[in-house]
Amino acid sequence: MTTHARVQRTRRNRSVVLVLVGAVVIVAAFSLAVGAYSLSVPDLLRTLAGQGTQSENFIVLSLRLPRLTLALLVGVAFALSGALFQTVLRNPLASPDIIGVTGGASAAAVFGMLILGFGSIATSLAAFVGAIIVACVIYLLARRGGVVGYRFVLIGVGVAFMVQGLLGYLLSRADLNDAQGALLWLVGSVSGAGWQDIALVAVVLLVLLPVIRVLSGRLGALQLGDDLATSLGVGAERTRLVLLVIAVALAATATAAVGPLAFVAFVAAPIARRVLGTGGLALIPAALVGALITTVADFTAQHLLPGQLELPAGIITGAIGAPYLLWLIATSNKTGKGA
């Protein structure tokens, strides 16, 4: 009986993962093939195999591939960051974009750009440091004999507002042209992806993904509450801290690379869990959903909007995420689980 249910669950998990992978591959193919210069599928495959013409090579391998790769990687990073935050703090609102962690990255980056005149690498570094600082501030303020989810979220939301205020101040003081550049960064965009951004995000993921894999059992125990987690042999407070550090590192890295792509971290895990419907952690589906959101958003922003307008991907993810936030707030109070 049990074994049967488990087999069913594993099968469902596998088919969801397969469908998501398929969807990501299709979107990826479109992203590489479609544009001002479109390729057929055979041409695309030929180019990817290294047999393309000079112009095909340039367009696909030098322009579109880095952009796609970066979109995929930050999608995974944001999604896992959100999934860890939400699970560890047991609150769907606890995502780095809601509680001000990515906001901290933005403020630091904009401060670097506008006041200190940073270039792109220094700006990324500033963003990373900003996210870490904000996360530490929230953690220390929320820590009172143990971190509790709702307190962490409320303090995080407060900090997010403060960071927004700081951002507004910086932008209003800045020169108009500089401010526009900063605003573009603040929306979040994968255009102009360079291989050094990609390498950075890839290395962080390569290090952290296996760690997350190893810690996923502990995360599952932590979901059952601190008492039961301790009873199962999981040091609740320490595990929570380690997982939060990983989540912050993921969000900070992704934000440093592409800016704060709104709501990807916030929606990816809930969507994956809803699709899966087994109540499992669904970390792999969440990562795939994240990659799917960022790639679709970037493709939409580039090609699917009316007019010759090319928008940053963050506008699209924001447009997806905001209604979900409203829906979540509207429904969570009904079930008595207000944030």
């Binding site: 009986m1 049990t2 074994t3 049967h4 249910a5 488990r6 069913q8 669950r9 699970t87 047991r90 004999g145 190893v214 059992g217 502990r218 599952g220 125990a221 979901q223 059952l224 509450g225 601190d226 008492d227 039961l228 301790t230 009873s231 199962l232 042999g233 999981v234 040091g235 869990r273 419907g277 087994t278 109540g279 499992g280």
Partner: protein, 265 residues
């Protein structure tokens, strides 16, 4: 051979508000120990201390002669398990998934899920009669079913010593008996040591091999139900006048409260 779990002069409390002051207790291996006492007498606190959920302010809890706080958490978890009064279930979790999480302490860094885990989960679900609920979501179940699922999870952890904090609260009388029978069966068949907090004195007396009566953070009686559940001790621990009569079903002491009106209503 079950390892000995003992509280040795432990003082326990929350945020430096002491609740229990230098208490000694030896959990009798292979027996069912029931802790009773008035509200706020420190029953749950004691249980949390025994399960190392609460660090003693003084004294120590020892397992097999060694300080439990110094033992690796996962290793302790294979010997001592605790089912809290109100465990948290993640949204949408299915019964199989939840019961399976009890296997965590038996899994290594890289050895994730094995067929042994499958068998033990299946056995735990069979013992608690939750097999047919396997694919259901916990939030869709009734209170009695849910409690059996939580107990299945605790059994899947397969501890030698199982601690339960009020496992029958919020259940109707039928389901209370069902849960207690299930724990008794586990104890008699597998020799699992059971320590639980119960509110119902009559059920406590019936199911306990060993009864611990608490008042204001200390133990006022500790022994066989027939010796510990006397009118004097009930008066002292609960501030309640009661007659003690033999339970017509099994002969265990049965507490019949007198009340201000002596039943004349």
């Amino acid at each position: 051979m079950t390892q000995l779990l003992r509280a040795e002069g432990v003082s326990l409390g929350y945020d430096h508000t002491p609740i229990i002051d230098s208490l000694d207790l030896e959990v009798i291996p292979g027996a069912i120990t029931v802790i009773v006492g008035a509200n706020a007498s420190g029953k749950s606190t004691l249980l949390k201390g025994l399960a190392r959920l609460l660090k003693p302010d003084a004294g120590q809890v020892s397992l097999g002669g060694r300080n439990i706080a110094a033992l690796p958490g996962k290793k302790v978890a294979t010997v001592v398990g605790l089912l809290p009064q109100q465990p948290i279930a993640p949204d949408g979790i299915t019964v199989t998934d939840l019961v399976g999480r009890g296997r965590y302490p038996h899994q290594g860094w890289f050895r994730q899920w094995s067929s042994t885990d499958d068998e033990i989960v299946a056995a735990a679900m069979a013992a608690t009669n939750t097999g047919e609920l396997a694919g259901r979501r916990l939030e869709d179940l009734s209170g009695g079913q849910r409690q059996r699922v939580w107990i299945a999870m605790a059994l899947a952890q397969d501890p030698e010593i199982l601690l339960l904090d009020e496992p029958t609260t919020f259940l109707d009388v039928t389901h209370q008996i069902e849960v207690l029978d299930l724990l008794l069966e586990r104890n008699r068949e597998r020799g699992t040591t059971v320590v639980m907090v119960l509110h119902d004195l009559n059920l406590a007396a019936r199911y306990a091999d060993h009864l611990v009566v608490m008042r204001a953070g200390s133990i006022v009686a500790n022994g066989l139900p027939a010796e510990t559940l006397t009118a004097d001790i009930v008066r002292h621990a609960f501030d309640l006048e009661a007659r003690i009569v033999p339970d017509p079903v099994c002969g265990a002491p049965m507490v019949v409260p007198i009340g201000r009106f002596h039943g004349q209503v």
